[in-house]
C-alpha cells in the first residue's frame, strides 16, 4: 500500500437524502483494489484527526478512478458531502482483506450503507447472483446492480419491494427453495449480519460478512478495530482480530458478532 496521498475528486452526486457518491482519481486503488477492501479518507478540517473508513464501491481501472458511496452520519461524512469536483482529499488504501470470490450460486445481501461495497463485488463474481438489497425507506444504487444479477429489494416501511428485512425478502422470493445457494456475501448493520449468520448456519450455507468498527490507524497497529473471534487469532494471540487488517470480510463462523 502506498503512502497517504492527496487525490482529486472528479465527480460527486447525491443519491438520496443522505447518501452521496464520489469518484476520485487514484491509480493505486484503481490498480490494486479488490471488492470488500476499503480506504481511509481523511478530513480537511484539522480538528478531526482520524480517518474515516469507506469501502470501495466501484473501480474504473482504465481511467484510474475509484468510487465511494457514503451516508452522512456525522461531521466527517458531512464534510465529505460538501466537497466539490476538483477539490482534493487525502486517502490511504486499498486496506484490508476483501471478499473471496467463490460460489456458483450465491446470495449477495446488503443492508443500507452496507450496499455500496457489493457493487464492485457483484461485477467480479462468476455464477448466478441473487442480489438482495435492504433499506429502511429510500432506495439507492439498486438500478446499478441490475446489470449483474437478479435484484430483490426490501424496505422496512414497505415502500419498495418486500416489506421487512433482507431475510424476509429472501424468504418471500423463495431464493433458497429455488436455488442451490452455496455462498452468502453480506454487508450491513450488525443486527442484519447477526440474523444472516444464524440464517446461513440453519441452512448450512457458508457466509462471508463485512464488519465495521471504529478505526484509528487503519493499518493494523493500534488494536482499536477488533472483533471477538471463535478461535485465538493468529496475529493477536487472543480472541480478538483486527478488522482493518484481517478483515473487514470474515467467514461468519470465525467471528463473534
Amino acid at each position: 500500500m502506498n503512502n497517504r496521498r492527496n487525490v482529486e475528486i472528479v465527480d460527486i452526486k447525491q443519491l438520496s437524502s443522505d447518501v452521496f457518491s464520489m469518484w476520485v482519481k487514484d491509480e493505486e486503488i484503481a490498480s490494486n483494489g479488490k471488492p470488500g477492501q476499503f480506504a481511509s479518507l481523511y478530513c480537511n478540517n484539522e480538528t478531526r484527526l482520524l480517518p474515516r473508513p469507506i469501502s470501495i464501491c466501484e473501480i474504473n481501472k482504465d481511467e484510474g478512478l475509484v468510487r465511494f458511496v457514503y451516508r452522512v452520519v456525522g461531521k466527517g461524512t458531512k464534510e465529505f458531502s460538501e466537497l466539490k469536483v476538483s477539490d482534493r482529499i487525502n486517502i490511504l488504501g486499498p486496506i484490508g482483506d476483501g471478499f473471496n470470490l467463490e460460489g456458483k450460486n450465491v446470495l449477495v445481501v446488503g443492508g443500507g450503507i452496507g450496499i455500496p461495497p457489493l457493487l464492485e463485488l457483484s461485477k467480479h463474481l462468476d455464477g448466478k447472483k441473487h442480489i438482495i438489497l435492504g433499506y429502511r425507506d429510500e432506495v439507492f444504487l439498486d438500478d446499478e446492480f441490475k446489470q449483474y444479477g437478479d435484484v430483490y429489494v426490501s424496505t422496512e416501511d414497505g415502500s419498495s419491494g418486500t416489506k421487512g428485512n433482507v431475510i424476509d425478502a429472501i424468504v418471500a422470493n423463495k431464493l433458497l427453495e429455488d436455488n442451490e445457494i452455496d455462498m452468502i456475501f453480506a454487508c450491513g448493520p450488525t443486527p442484519m449480519l447477526r440474523g444472516l449468520k444464524d440464517f446461513a448456519n440453519k441452512n448450512g450455507i457458508k457466509a462471508q460478512i463485512s464488519l465495521e468498527e471504529r478505526m484509528a490507524c487503519g493499518v493494523g497497529a493500534c488494536l482499536s478495530c477488533v472483533c471477538k473471534t471463535k478461535e485465538k487469532d493468529h496475529h493477536t494471540h487472543v480472541h480478538n482480530t483486527r478488522i482493518c487488517k484481517e478483515g473487514p470480510v470474515f467467514y461468519a463462523n470465525e467471528v463473534e458478532i
Binding site: 482520524l50 497497529a221 493500534c222 477488533v226
Partner: protein, 305 residues
C-alpha cells in the same frame, strides 16, 4: 539528506540515538505494520506497544472516540504476551538499525518484573515502564499517581533490568515534578511523559458513553500545552533525561518539547493521521537546525527562556 556538520544524535541514559525521535507506545504496534510506510532505520528508536507477562485481551469495543483535535482510547493494553513478543516482534525489529524500546505493562509489581526479567537478556536497548495507563482496572495508572508507589515499583524493576529503565509518567497528577523525583529516587534512568489524560465523551443522541470502558485516555494536539508544561516542570525537578510526547504532529511541536527540556521526543497519535509523521518530524528538526545554524541538537535541550 543529512549534512554531517549537524549533529542530531542524543545520548539517553547511555544509549546513543541517531536522532531524538521515537514512536509513542501503542501507536506504532511493533513497527511491523508501519514498516510499509516508514524506513525504521531512519528512527532514533522504535517504542513498542505495551507488553505483559501473559496475553491480554484488552477492553470491549468501541475502544476509541474522536474529540476536538484529539482522540480518546481505551484499548486496554491488548497484547500477545512477552513470549510471542520476543519470538515474533523482537525478531522482526532486530533486523533494523535503530534502538528498540519495549514498553512494559502489568497488573502487579510481580507482573512488571517478570516481563523485565524475560527481556533482560534479549536484544532490547531500553525498557519503558508504563505506570500510567488509564484504561486498566489494576496496574497502570494506579501505580503512577502516588510518589511512594512510583519509587517502589521503579526500585523493583531496576533489580531485574539489564537495560536502562524509562519510567512513563501519568499527567493525571497534582504535581508531576514530585512524581518524576520519586522515579529518579527509585533509580529510573530516564522518564517519559506524558501518557494520556483521562477523559470521556458522551453520545448525546443515545445518551451513552462513546467508549465501552466509559473513560479513555486523551491524546493528540489538544493536550500538547499540558505536556509542554509538564516536561518543563520535570526538567527543573530531575537530572535524568526526558522523552517528551503528547500531541506532536510536526517538527515545530517536537522542537517545542526539546526547548522545554526533552532530550528526545515520541510521535503518537500523529501516526494515525499521517503514517510518515515520524520521518517528517526528523526532517523538520534538521531543517530548523540548519536555518538557525545549530550544530548540535544538544544545544537546544531545555534552552527556553
Amino acid at each position: 539528506m543529512f549534512n554531517n556538520e549537524i549533529n542530531m544524535s542524543v545520548n539517553i541514559a547511555g544509549v546513543e540515538w541517531k536522532n531524538p525521535v521515537t514512536t509513542a507506545s501503542g501507536t506504532f504496534g511493533s513497527g511491523i505494520e508501519y514498516s510499509d510506510f516508514v524506513d525504521l532505520n531512519a528512527l532514533g528508536a522504535v517504542t513498542t506497544k505495551g507488553v505483559s507477562n501473559v496475553p491480554w485481551e484488552g477492553n470491549q469495543t468501541p475502544r476509541i472516540a474522536e474529540t476536538t483535535s484529539g482522540m480518546l482510547n481505551a484499548i486496554g493494553l491488548q497484547n500477545p504476551g512477552v513470549d510471542v513478543f520476543i519470538e515474533r516482534d523482537l525478531a522482526f525489529l532486530k533486523e533494523f538499525d535503530t534502538n528498540i524500546i519495549v514498553n512494559v505493562c502489568g497488573r502487579t509489581e510481580r507482573d512488571y518484573c517478570e516481563v523485565v526479567e524475560k527481556l533482560a537478556d534479549n536484544d532490547v536497548d531500553m525498557l519503558e515502564i508504563n505506570i500510567s495507563c488509564p484504561n486498566v482496572s489494576e496496574g497502570g495508572i494506579t501505580f503512577g499517581q502516588n510518589c511512594d508507589s512510583v519509587e517502589s515499583i521503579t526500585k523493583a524493576v531496576k533489580k531485574y533490568a539489564k537495560q536502562p529503565i524509562i519510567m512513563k509518567l501519568s499527567p493525571n497528577v497534582s504535581n508531576i515534578g514530585d512524581i518524576a523525583r520519586a522515579a529518579e529516587a527509585g533509580g529510573a534512568d530516564a522518564v517519559s511523559l506524558i501518557n494520556t489524560l483521562t477523559g470521556s465523551k458522551i453520545d448525546i443522541h443515545r445518551r451513552k458513553f462513546e467508549l465501552a470502558n466509559k473513560t479513555g485516555g486523551l491524546s493528540g494536539p489538544a493536550i500538547k500545552p499540558i505536556a509542554i508544561r509538564m516536561v518543563y516542570e520535570v526538567a527543573k525537578a530531575v537530572n535524568i533525561p526526558i522523552i517528551g510526547m503528547g500531541g506532536i504532529m510536526n517538527a515545530e511541536d517536537a522542537i517545542e518539547f526539546i526547548l522545554a527540556g526533552a532530550s528526545a521526543v515520541a510521535v503518537g497519535t500523529a501516526n494515525f493521521t499521517n503514517q510518515r509523521a515520524t520521518l517528517e518530524v526528523i526532517a523538520g528538526i534538521y531543517d530548523y537546525m540548519k536555518k538557525y545554524n545549530v550544530k548540535d541538537i544538544n544545544e537546544l535541550i531545555g534552552c527556553v527562556e
